[in-house]
């Protein structure tokens, strides 16, 4: 049985096009080529430099953002493929100028040194609680996609436990 398609194949072009994204609840439009990563779109085109470029090959987790509430790597996501999804970056964590409890806990527990991996750590840490993977023996494994070159891991785990316990669950 061969494939018969009623409509002709989709047009695909490598030229810049208008891409409509929803970032931190706001609709934005930008002119970019398909090869532009979501990470570069956020940083270079939208000026949202909180999200960091570490390895740019899906290994370090510094570029972690949420797509429809699920944590993904923005370096391995094409910006054009983000159309139709709600993107949340570290800039979207705060609420009316108030730090997210996880951000406050990171400060209280000294959960960073150089700070470069911190935005990605925060996006994973908050997602971890949503995923219900914040038991004491789960945190390390479920944070393993975020590398900290300064090895602030014990303090990051302390911060996560504090927010977990304050929320009254695991």
């Amino acid at each position: 049985m061969a494939i018969h398609v009623g409509s002709p194949p989709l047009e695909g072009t490598s030229k810049a096009r208008t891409v409509a994204l929803t970032v931190n609840g706001e609709g934005v439009e930008l002119r970019i080529e398909p090869r532009v990563s979501l990470l570069d779109a956020l940083r270079e085109h939208l000026g949202l430099t909180g999200t960091k470029k570490g390895c740019d090959q899906g290994t370090c987790g510094a570029c972690t953002v949420w797509s429809d509430g699920r944590r993904v790597l923005s370096c391995l996501t094409l910006a054009v493929a983000g159309e139709g999804h709600e993107i949340t970056t570290v800039e979207g964590l705060q609420d009316g100028g108030e730090l997210h409890p996880m951000q406050a806990a990171f400060i209280a527990h000294d959960a960073f040194q150089c700070g470069y991996c911190t935005p990605g750590q925060l996006m994973s840490a908050v997602a971890l609680l949503e995923e219900g993977r914040a038991a004491d023996d789960e945190i390390a494994e479920w944070m393993s996609g975020n590398i900290c070159r300064c090895a602030a891991y014990p303090n990051i785990r302390d911060a996560i436990r504090e927010v977990r316990d304050a929320a009254g669950g695991e």
Partner: protein
């Protein structure tokens, strides 16, 4: 990063037709391998057809007690799906020991099967590599090959297949369902993965424009008692040096049913049929497990840096099967 064209498909047939329309057209699913390798200039698609909107992300029960995993179901969702976690724990365990939470959220099951090897010479886009540039040679055989394969190798390629999930699926006789320019077909997963032989650039039988729509896992009572053991250089977020997917049914201290596959040691997810034959109907003892493991690894062709895998794989098999047998004893029902 080289420019490429991009299109987004709403239905399967349009996606296939769009890829077929250009010889350099490729499907784009989770992108965790593909975008990485395009950026590294290892892959050079002229057109990426985004298939993430296609309705192929379900996990459904099959009438025989099996499960149908949509090609676009994400690793994280499949690992948590009740039908998988309860009836096929080896699949859940393999998925959750693979990659990182972010990558598992993104990566599709079909893409997991089609992921490319982690050999540094394949990925550097420069070194001789028969997979990337057929006929150019294999830099790994004379180079750094600690992580490479000891089973199923050829003088053209020794790269290890990197998937964990595929090892579990091979142990359970999964079937890869596809749709392409010549219609639909179902390929037994052990035939889906090709040995490198003289054509290491050919890793699976998919034609240009052929899309994996689902992976069927047939019902198997044995699979309820199954596990995935992964041995690696660090405890998390690392590829396997050796892994074992095992399901075993022990009755009256005899092996009544056994499914065994190895990861990290072979050029494809390795169904350990020699060991299975050695064990089936015999005693479920540590000695029998060790003898079966020895026979499975007997044809191994290690190189200086990966010779340790031959012993490590045998020990991992014994450990995995001993744990399953002990679980049966403790259960006390058989």
């Amino acid at each position: 990063m080289r420019p490429f064209a991009y299109a987004r498909a709403d239905d399967v047939d349009t996606a296939i037709a769009t890829v077929l329309a250009r010889p350099d057209g490729e499907f784009l699913a989770g992108g965790t391998t593909e975008i990485d390798l395009v950026r590294q200039d290892v892959l050079r698609p002229g057109l990426l057809v985004d298939i993430n909107d296609l309705p192929l992300d379900r996990v459904d029960d099959l009438p025989d007690g099996g499960v149908r995993i949509g090609g676009l179901a994400r690793m994280s969702d499949v690992a948590e799906a009740p039908g998988v976690a309860e009836r096929f724990p080896v699949i859940s365990e393999a998925l959750l020991q693979g990659a990182s939470p972010q990558l598992r959220t993104m990566a599709s099951m079909a893409g997991n099967l089609c992921q490319r090897v982690r050999c540094g010479y394949f990925r550097d886009a420069v070194s001789p590599c028969n997979k990337r540039d057929p006929g150019s040679g294999c830099a790994a055989i004379t180079g750094f090959h600690r992580g490479h394969a000891v089973l199923g190798t050829s003088d053209k390629c020794i790269a290890t297949h990197p998937s964990d999930a595929a090892v579990a699926l091979v142990a359970l006789d999964a079937v890869v369902r596809t749709r392409g320019p010549h219609g639909e077909r179902a390929v037994p997963i052990d035939e889906f993965f090709l040995l490198p032989g003289d054509t290491p650039e050919r890793e699976h039988p998919l034609e240009h424009g052929e899309l994996i729509t689902a992976i069927d896992v047939p019902g198997a009572a044995t699979a309820r008692r199954s596990s995935y053991l992964k041995v690696r250089d660090r405890a998390s977020y690392e590829f396997a040096l050796v892994s074992v997917a095992a399901a075993m049914d022990v009755r009256y201290r005899t092996v009544a049913d056994i499914r065994l596959a190895l990861g990290g040691v072979a050029t494809k997810p390795w169904r350990a049929r020699t060991a299975e034959r050695s064990l089936l109907g015999g005693p479920a003892t540590r000695e029998a497990f060790a003898e079966a493991a020895r026979r499975e690894l007997a044809p191994a062709t290690p190189l200086p840096q990966n010779e340790f895998k031959v012993e490590l794989a045998q020990r991992a098999i014994v450990r995995a099967l001993t744990a399953l047998a002990d679980g049966d004893e403790e259960g006390g029902t058989r």
